[in-house]
């Protein structure tokens, strides 16, 4: 992925647009009034000026209609492109999502909300391609310049903290996690639990990671759905670090029940060695009609 995030951050900034139609409208009204004054003075030109004034009004109304139509169409197109980019990210079609987002962010956004959505989607794409410095850059800029509601701020800070952990900037990550704890609903945040577990596993504090897992497992599963696999694989790693092989095996089996082992090891490279120690949950394989063929280990 060759995307210059800094350039995209600059190029996508919305720019104030000159409202030509407002100026034209004012000009047209002024012209009509001016002509009416002129016609009052010379009675012979009255009929001609009336016709010209009517024509100007028709043109102004048609122009306003056309302008509204074009602006609405452009806004709808931008919205559709954003919807498509979101779908591509959800469907994990990363290269296509990256290309679409690059083309969207290469020009000034019509609305700051769409820009925010596009940049958040770009964060996901950058994280998928292990471009964590880009994730930090985007999240820093968003937090600095966009007025966001507390929940959105929390989500962006979570992405930032995870990226810092992946970059091995542990001191910064620790500060980011402390900052996240100041959020009024931090106790109810499953995402924060996941980040804390990863930090504890990375820094060699498996007992603390397991404490967080025990306290927040239900929250993580309710809020993150299938991403509960992430918490399970980190718990497996924590058990493994403590030498609790039986519990580690169980947690690893639960993790791989929900998500393929390869994907989990890609997200958390520290857990890669678990694949050689423990058995992943076998997923049934399917033929084209969907019937099960056999069990694949």
């Amino acid at each position: 992925m060759r995307i210059d995030v800094q350039t995209l951050l600059e190029s996508s900034r919305p720019r104030p647009r000159l409202d030509w139609m407002a100026y034209l409208g004012v000009l047209a009204v002024a012209a009509v009034l001016g002509m009416s004054l002129l016609a009052e003075r010379s009675g012979s030109a009255r009929e001609d000026t009336e016709s010209v004034a009517s024509l100007i009004m028709v043109l102004v109304m048609a122009g306003m209609f056309l302008n509204t139509f074009l602006q609405t169409r452009a806004a709808r197109l931008e919205h559709m492109r954003m919807e498509l980019a979101d779908e591509l990210v959800q469907l994990r079609r990363w290269p296509q999502a990256a290309m679409l987002l690059q083309s969207m962010l290469s020009r000034p956004a019509r609305s700051p909300i769409v820009r925010l959505q596009a940049l958040l989607a770009l964060c996901s794409v950058a994280a998928r391609f292990h471009r964590f410095e880009d994730v930090t850059l985007i999240t820093d800029q968003l937090l600095e310049e966009m007025p966001l509601d507390p929940m959105a701020t929390h989500m962006i800070k979570l992405s930032r903290a995870m990226a810092l952990l992946r970059e091995d900037r542990l001191f910064d990550a620790d500060r980011a996690i402390s900052d996240l704890r100041h959020f009024s609903q931090a106790r109810e945040s499953g995402g924060l639990g996941l980040v804390e577990m990863y930090r504890d596993v990375k820094t060699g504090h498996p007992a603390e990671a397991l404490e967080v897992f025990a306290a927040k497992r239900d929250l993580i599963r309710r809020q993150l759905g299938h991403r509960v696999a992430d918490a399970c694989v980190l718990a497996a790693k924590a058990h493994d670090l403590l030498g609790q092989t039986e519990q580690a095996g169980q947690a690893y089996a639960q993790a791989t029940l929900m998500s393929p082992a390869v994907e989990l090891h890609r997200r958390y490279p520290e857990t890669a060695d678990l694949a050689n120690k423990y058995r992943a949950t076998p997923a049934p394989s399917f033929n084209q009609s969907g019937a099960t063929l056999e069990v694949v280990v």
Partner: protein
């Protein structure tokens, strides 16, 4: 709480008033342009036209204010703040709007609210009232409205109605979120009519799509697929899907919500019963 019948009546009345007003203003404008010069109205015609443009702009501005009232309603509904959503939708339905989309959206949001409040009958009535209207530029609203209607009918046990709604949706192009909702409804519908074999068509794709759903619908969909696998003798697949559903939610809660799933989690045999 807004009465559904009153909301529908007010909605229809406001649409009629809006249409009459729009037609009157447009006729007035055309008359100023075409008839004015013929009858020698002079600048009176131009000034009248200007007045019409000003009135149109002012009413349009009021309409935009009304539609802004409900813009946050879906978020409020999703976060469970039903009272706040209700008061905003009520205000939007009461406010005057020159344009149809604002009123159509308000009614759709009311249907969503009633659906979230599990008032299936009322939500279905609102969806039907909406679908009887010409949606025009909001024709995209037809799909989410049909999805909500299908889910309401599923809860009401009106299976022919669900089938009809699903058929309508099959003729349209759905986005990902709509396709996921459609899959949930269709899976449950097929389970209700006992069509377990069709439920398992392209099951791997369905499992992957279920992973994109929020936790509870994901668990429910996989539980229904597990039931279908069990009914068709694919025990390994059924066990795998059931265990995934268990990871996402509490099985007893799922069974209380959808009793048909009790077959996947039979109650433990009672101690001391007859041999």
């Amino acid at each position: 709480m807004i009465s559904v019948q009153a909301a529908i009546s007010r909605f229809r009345r406001d649409l009629t008033i809006g249409a009459v007003l729009r037609a009157s203003l447009a006729t007035g404008a055309v008359a100023c342009l075409l008839v004015g010069p013929m009858v020698g109205a002079g600048y009176g015609g131009v000034l009248l036209l200007l007045a019409i443009v000003v009135v149109w702009t002012m009413l349009g501005y009021r309409s935009i204010q009304g539609s802004r009232l409900t813009a946050d309603s879906p978020l409020l509904i999703a976060s469970g703040r039903f009272d706040e959503a209700e008061s905003r939708i009520d205000a939007a339905l009461r406010s005057f709007s020159l344009f149809r989309p604002a009123k159509l959206l308000s009614l759709h949001h009311l249907a969503l609210l009633r659906h979230a409040q599990r008032r299936w009958q009322e939500s279905a009535q609102l969806c039907r009232a909406l679908q009887r209207q010409r949606l025009g530029t909001l024709r995209g609203l037809g799909k989410p409205s049909t999805l909500v209607l299908a889910d309401n009918l599923l809860h009401l046990g009106d299976l022919p109605g669900v089938f009809e709604a699903i058929c309508r949706l099959y003729r349209q192009r759905l986005n990902l979120a709509e396709a996921l909702t459609m899959m949930q409804i269709q899976t449950e519908y097929l389970a209700c009519i006992g069509a377990f074999e069709p439920m398992l068509a392209q099951v791997w794709t369905k499992v992957q799509l279920a992973e994109l759903m929020p936790p509870l619908p994901a668990a429910r969909t996989q539980a229904f697929l597990a039931l279908a696998a069990k009914k068709t003798g694919r025990i390994e697949l059924s066990r795998w899907l059931r265990r995934r559903a268990e990871q996402l939610t509490d099985a007893p809660a799922l069974v209380v919500e959808r009793p048909i799933l009790a077959e996947l989690w039979p109650p433990p045999p009672q101690a001391g019963g007859n041999p």
